[in-house]
């Protein structure tokens, strides 16, 4: 093989860096949505490669639902501080109070949908014209249809029938005032690509991605961490299990998987062997309807 050869991870990396730099070149006030989950940590790492020794040409933004895992929040703060990058946090709880929104009800009441309100307010507050996100097309079938530069109207809405053609590696980020673009540099990565890249690049992750003992509630075959955010009932089956998280979202809507994997290698072996998709295994909020994600995106979700 020629020495001028990039393997699949190197090609994906170069593509993502190219997209990040297009954002820097085309927009005046971009932001990187950063939750402390593995996909946004990967984006952070790619941004270091794209812009060092300079600073990021955008702040990190997190929309905190108040239901996040503390481990992910601590990791988020520590990474931003260690690398000297600006972090903006806005709270869904504040939006609920200020805008008199109704808290969702139910056993696993999720603020996932309310996140959109805070996100749109934050976009308006800072005048962000582009928000970089760590969504991947392999996650979900509505995402499989979305462009890398995804234009949203002033209500944050995605119109899947009116997407701009996106040709070659040429990205058209022109928008009218009030609109913004969601940009997805790791669109073409799969879950396994992310883990292989994390291994190759020695990227640090929050501890909850590795096997640990946790008190969980078993609900329709899924393991949900006990927390103050879910309603407990006497009939709940509660036990301590050895688990890890395959994705990190809200504590109310993210399920853990049983695992003994304490290293990246062990996690990769488990993912190769798994028979369930990432979102199917760990997300309670996608099961509501067949088009749950499509509907959320249409109303401004990232």
């Amino acid at each position: 093989m020629s020495k001028y050869h990039l393997d699949h991870l190197e090609q994906l990396e170069s593509e993502a860096i190219h997209i990040l730099r297009e954002v820097a070149g085309q927009f005046e006030k971009p932001a990187l949505l950063f939750s402390g989950g593995k996909d946004s940590i990967t984006l952070f790492h790619l941004a270091l490669k794209a812009f060092r020794p300079g600073r990021f040409p955008f702040p990190l933004v997190h929309i905190d639902t108040g239901h996040n895992f503390q481990e992910a929040l601590d990791f988020r703060d520590a990474l931003a501080e260690k690398k000297g990058e600006k972090l903006i946090v806005r709270y869904v709880a504040d939006t609920i109070r200020q805008k008199n929104l109704s808290e969702p009800k139910g056993k696993f009441a999720s603020r996932n949908a309310l996140q959109t309100y805070t996100l749109l307010d934050t976009i308006q507050e800072f005048g962000f014209d582009a928000c970089i996100g760590g969504a991947r097309r392999d996650e979900e079938k509505a995402r499989a249809k979305e462009r890398i530069f995804s234009v949203r109207d002033e209500f944050g809405q995605w119109d899947p029938k009116l997407q701009r053609p996106e040709l070659w590696n040429t990205y058209n980020g022109r928008i009218h005032k009030g609109e913004n673009v969601r940009v997805f540099p790791i669109s073409n990565w799969t879950e396994l690509d992310i883990w292989n890249y994390i291994r190759r690049e020695n990227i640090e992750l929050p501890s909850i991605y590795f096997a640990h003992d946790r008190e969980v509630l078993e609900h329709e075959g899924q393991l949900v961490a006990l927390s103050e955010f879910i309603q407990r009932e006497e009939t709940d089956k509660i036990s301590i299990r050895r688990v890890r998280y395959r994705t990190v979202g809200d504590m109310t809507c993210t399920a853990a998987v049983e695992s003994d994997a304490t290293t990246i290698d062990a996690i990769i072996s488990e993912i190769i062997a798994t028979k369930t998709s990432e979102r199917g295994e760990t997300r309670i909020d996608d099961k509501v309807s067949e088009a749950a994600m499509e509907d959320r995106k249409k109303s401004g979700y990232f």
């Binding site: 001028y4 990039l6 170069s14 020794p53 249809k145 058209n172 998709s277």
Partner: protein
């Protein structure tokens, strides 16, 4: 492990979605929960077998209508390769979506229904493949089960298609008989098609050489962004960030900045923050130049001995993607890689019939999905190559400045 990007093209009932579903299913890339979801849906729609096509239809409107409206990207991998499938609609009404999916493809699978042979749609998809210069073509003769697997039917279709390929100058066409519905020759060899001695579809996809398609001869580095930390020790640091879209650069190379024409040398190369001696396509990098000259986003750094055209008049094949018609004299923003310039469509020379490739005189305006040969004048010079010669630096888009929508795809001639 490398990456192969391919697109599948077929008309509504050619079994395109079934083929993709079959590739994903037989390569074990479908998870149990996804399968359960489509099983449930198949029941909802009161049909029999699991409908593999449901795996690829992402939007509610598509599932309701049983059609593909926009490109969906699907992923699977084998130990040899990662595959990115652009699943694009085949109907003429969605030519722009197909062009979008085809623009990055290394390969196209053209599906032909064994019962119908080469039809108008086949010809149109092949013309799109040739306009977009997709390097490799696989012709998959599908639904062999419905005609009882005869070799002569297949052979006749191959002969018919070979004539189409020759008339379009398509390089590298490979033929294969399949049944996507039953999985014949997709991942596993088919006994019912024992007369076929070639590789299965997955083997073809795995073994095709694509790395050689990356042009390593003509170096082109469009500048995306200038990195200037302006702090302490890095006060004088000025790095030009971009992706080497083709070719190779080494430290010390003599380069020219276009469109300014200024010359200098590469003094330092960084990849991922590390200094390196050379960089090759398609790596992202930061270049430093020996002289302190004006370079900014939209400029292209090229070797002084290998200059592309730097011109204000482009001869293009233009695929119109706008809902509003195109007429001579219309003004658009033209974007090629990171460069945007004002432009005017000076002359539309003829219209190309995408079903026959016949040149027709233009009467009136150009509508959605039509292809024309046009001359575009730009407000300042554009450093470009011809699309046939160097795809990565020969394709440009037109943007309507009033709506900001991408309305045209230009292949520079």
């Amino acid at each position: 492990m490398d990456i192969l990007r391919f697109i599948t093209a077929g008309s509504v009932d050619d079994g395109k979605s079934t083929l993709i579903g079959r590739l994903l299913y037989d390569s074990k890339s479908i998870m149990i929960d996804q399968l359960e979801a489509i099983e449930k849906q198949t029941r909802n729609r009161e049909e029999g077998d699991i409908d593999l096509a449901l795996l690829t239809d992402g939007l509610r409107a598509e599932r309701e209508q049983g059609i593909t409206i926009d490109v969906a990207y699907k992923y699977f991998s084998t130990p040899k390769r990662k595959f990115i499938i652009a699943d694009a609609p085949g109907h003429i009404q969605y030519t722009r979506n197909m062009v979008t999916g085809a623009s990055n493809a290394d390969l196209i699978i053209i599906l032909i229904d064994a019962r119908h042979g080469v039809i108008e749609q086949t010809r149109r998809h092949s013309i799109v493949a040739s306009l977009l210069n997709i390097p490799h073509v696989i012709v998959a003769v599908n639904k062999m089960d419905m005609v009882d697997y005869p070799q002569d039917t297949y052979n006749n279709i191959v002969i018919d298609y070979a004539a189409v390929a020759a008339s379009l100058g398509l390089p590298q066409v490979t033929y294969i008989p399949i049944s996507a519905l039953h999985g014949d020759n997709i991942v596993d060899r088919s006994e019912r098609l024992s007369w076929y001695e070639g590789e299965t579809l997955l083997e073809l996809l795995e073994n095709l050489e694509v790395q050689t398609d990356a042009n390593l001869v003509h170096a082109r580095f469009p500048v995306q962004y200038v990195i200037r930390p302006q702090t302490g020790l890095l006060h004088d640091y000025r790095g030009f960030a971009g992706k080497l879209i083709s070719g190779i650069y080494q430290k010390g190379d003599q380069v020219t900045i276009l469109p300014s024409g200024l010359q200098t040398r590469i003094s330092r190369i960084e990849v991922g923050g590390e200094e390196v001696e050379e960089v090759f396509a398609p790596q992202s990098a930061v270049l430093h130049l020996e002289d302190d000259i004006d370079v900014s986003r939209g400029d292209v750094i090229v070797p002084s001995h290998d200059l592309p055209d730097s011109t204000q008049e482009l001869d293009v094949l233009l695929c119109w993607m706008g809902n509003k018609p195109l007429a001579e004299g219309n003004r658009y923003l033209l974007q090629i890689n990171s460069r945007q310039v004002k432009s005017i469509v000076k002359e539309i020379r003829y219209k190309l019939d995408v079903n026959s490739l016949q040149q027709e005189a233009l009467t009136g305006t150009v509508g959605l999905n039509e292809v024309v040969r046009a001359t575009i004048k730009t407000a300042s010079p554009v450093a470009c190559d011809t699309y046939k010669h160097l795809r990565v630096n020969g394709g440009a888009i037109l943007i309507d400045e009033t709506s900001n929508v991408t309305v045209g795809a230009c292949m520079i001639q």
